[in-house]
């Protein structure tokens, strides 16, 4: 494939206008101030080891430096992290997997995350730990089932002195409950893109997300657990053969800061971040509506943001700065993009949709039918947006670390002291 590498100035201006960061990393003004609730990417693919299972990855807390001590990154205790699944095509969630976290400190009289080398999750040297409860919520009737409680979060990869053999310790955090596997913890940032847009219109093709980490939630669930009616569809063209996934984070409505003690939280949970497809809130939704997008629901995306999809800004910018030759938006608008958001007649929405019908395998799980970790979605979306018959890319075509073929599939996080 002949890929047209964006010129230095071109890439910079384009991506700068899009927003500044990666797939959905700090993409809107308000969530940019709330890093721990900022979801960055969602992936969904049929399990490579068991085609009867679906793997769901929701990444949060963007662009983490490995050497970020002494308070290394974690999940927020007062946030709800949700992975939502629509199984009947109406863009309304039918199931939600909800993660809720708790933090514990063994010894508050030290500033250290760990007080000696750590060789297991049970090590007394591991001073700061997190655990979580995983709930499966039926969104139709509101019933909740706690699938896991007290499940450990993998620790931060502090460095070679603290974790002489990090990955085996981290993988001890994998839990399995009746066929549902879960992992929560730091991983290598799997999204790859050139972010040199901030260096005064810097060069193209630089792998700027190499070397940083992210906080990942990884689920592997039996497809029958989430399919409509509890049965894997037989026809791959039926609306219910496609499930729509998005991830979101919510915060309590009210926080009262106290002078003499920790803050108190009150009120219902308010969604502050959401993401289905990569780059929608970045390149489609303009600045004035980005925070509103994060607070809104996918089922209303057409009514709220449809005109931005029909008439996107990206091709204009590609032409302006690169002379990419993207054709003018047809009078009828970019209904081709709308179609990609609505496979099998589902309601168009910013949901990552994947076909789960019988016979679907990992090999077929590639964006926009789900999203594999190695999919170069930036190139795909730039190419779709421009629509000039050629391919357009950012010059970064792979992750810095290899993904694995076993759960949790994402690469081990970068060490703070390699």
């Amino acid at each position: 494939m002949n890929k047209k590498l964006l010129s230095a100035a071109g890439l910079s201006i384009i991506a700068g206008a899009i927003t500044a960061t990666a797939s959905s990393h700090r993409e809107a003004p308000m969530i940019g101030e709330d890093q721990f609730a900022d979801n960055t990417d969602v992936y969904a693919f049929i399990s490579p080891g068991d085609s009867n299972k679906l793997v769901l990855v929701a990444d949060y807390v963007p662009l983490l430096l490995p050497q970020s001590g002494p308070n290394f990154y974690r999940f927020a205790e007062d946030a709800q992290y949700d992975i939502n699944i629509d199984n009947d095509g109406d863009a309304v969630p039918d199931w939600t997997y909800r993660y809720e976290f708790e933090t514990a400190v063994k010894n508050g009289n030290t500033f250290l995350y760990n007080v000696g080398a750590v060789d297991s999750l049970d090590s007394p040297n591991l001073n700061v730990t997190q655990t979580y409860s995983l709930w499966k919520i039926n969104r139709k009737d509101g019933s909740r089932q706690r699938i896991m409680s007290g499940a450990p979060v993998a620790p931060w990869n502090v460095g070679k002195r603290s974790f002489p053999n990090y990955e085996p310790v981290a993988l001890q955090a994998i839990r399995d409950a009746n066929g549902t596997k879960s992992f929560a913890g730091p991983r290598d940032e799997p999204f790859f893109v050139d972010l040199h847009v901030f260096d005064l219109l810097g060069v193209g093709g630089a792998p700027t997300t190499d070397g940083v980490n992210v906080m990942s939630l990884v689920l592997e669930v039996p497809i029958t657990e989430i399919a409509k009616g509890g049965t894997r569809p037989t026809s791959s063209t039926d609306m219910t053969s496609v499930v729509g996934i998005n991830a979101s984070a919510s915060r309590p409505q009210i926080r009262i800061l106290r002078k003499g003690r920790d803050a108190d939280d009150y009120g219902k949970m308010i969604q502050v971040s959401r993401l289905g497809w990569p780059l929608i809130n970045e390149v489609i939704v303009p600045l004035k509506d980005k925070d509103k997008y994060n607070r809104s629901e996918p089922k209303n995306d057409v009514e709220n943001f449809g005109a931005y999809i029909l008439d996107p800004e990206v091709p204009k910018l590609l032409n302006l700065v690169l002379g990419a030759g993207c054709p003018a938006t047809p009078a009828g608008g970019r209904t081709d993009i709308v179609g990609l958001l609505a496979p099998n007649g589902t309601k168009p929405a910013d949901l990552l949709r994947i076909n789960i019908a019988q016979g679907q395998t990992n090999a077929q799980s590639h964006f926009p039918n789900g999203r594999a970790l190695a999919d170069d979605v930036t190139d795909t979306l730039l190419t779709v947006a421009c629509n000039n018959g050629g391919a357009i890319g950012d010059g970064v075509n792979a992750n810095d670390k290899a993904f694995t073929t076993s759960f949790p599939y994402l690469a081990s996080p970068h060490s703070g002291n390699p």
Partner: protein, 158 residues
């Protein structure tokens, strides 16, 4: 309290009540003008003003319930059935200035008329008359517009 005092108090209260009523009526007249000839461009101007001034409630009160007559674009993929129909309020003008695509709920028989006129044409300009039943407008959530009892008055395939 003497009888005279009581009478004065009653008169004062009554007078205040009449003033309040007049204010309410005057305010209602002021916020509910005849918008039957107003277009989506007029609404967009007011939405922009509301964003700057915080007058979302006032704008919503002015527009909700109005019977409007607009020319919009029906894209087949976004209005494939009577139960799921959104139309473009503005022609393509890269890039779009507003995200909202009004939702339509048709009067009986009207979607069939639309379907007959536009068929599967990807893009079809239609003239509609409908009641703006819901205008979501706030500093918190995105703007959205919904029409009820929509009648399709004409169509032009583009």
């Amino acid at each position: 309290m003497t009888t005279r005092t009581m009478i004065l108090v009653v008169l004062a209260v009554a007078a205040c009540g009449r003033n309040d009523q007049r204010k309410v009526i005057a305010r209602d007249v002021a916020v509910r003008p005849d918008l039957s000839h107003a277009t989506q461009a007029d609404l967009a101007v007011e939405v922009d003003q509301a964003e700057r001034r915080g007058t979302w409630r006032e704008v919503r009160k002015r527009w909700e319930g109005q019977r409007l007559h607009w020319t919009v674009t029906r894209h087949a993929s976004l209005c494939a059935s009577a139960s799921a129909c959104n139309v473009a309020a503005f022609p393509v003008k890269r890039p779009a200035q507003y995200g909202w695509l009004p939702g339509l709920t048709f009067a009986p028989g009207e979607y069939a008329k639309l379907d007959a006129w536009c068929g599967n044409t990807p893009s079809c300009e239609i003239e509609i008359e409908g009641t703006l039943s819901r205008l979501e407008l706030s500093g918190e959530l995105p703007t959205s517009v919904h029409f009820d009892r929509v009648r399709v008055l004409g169509a032009h395939k583009s």
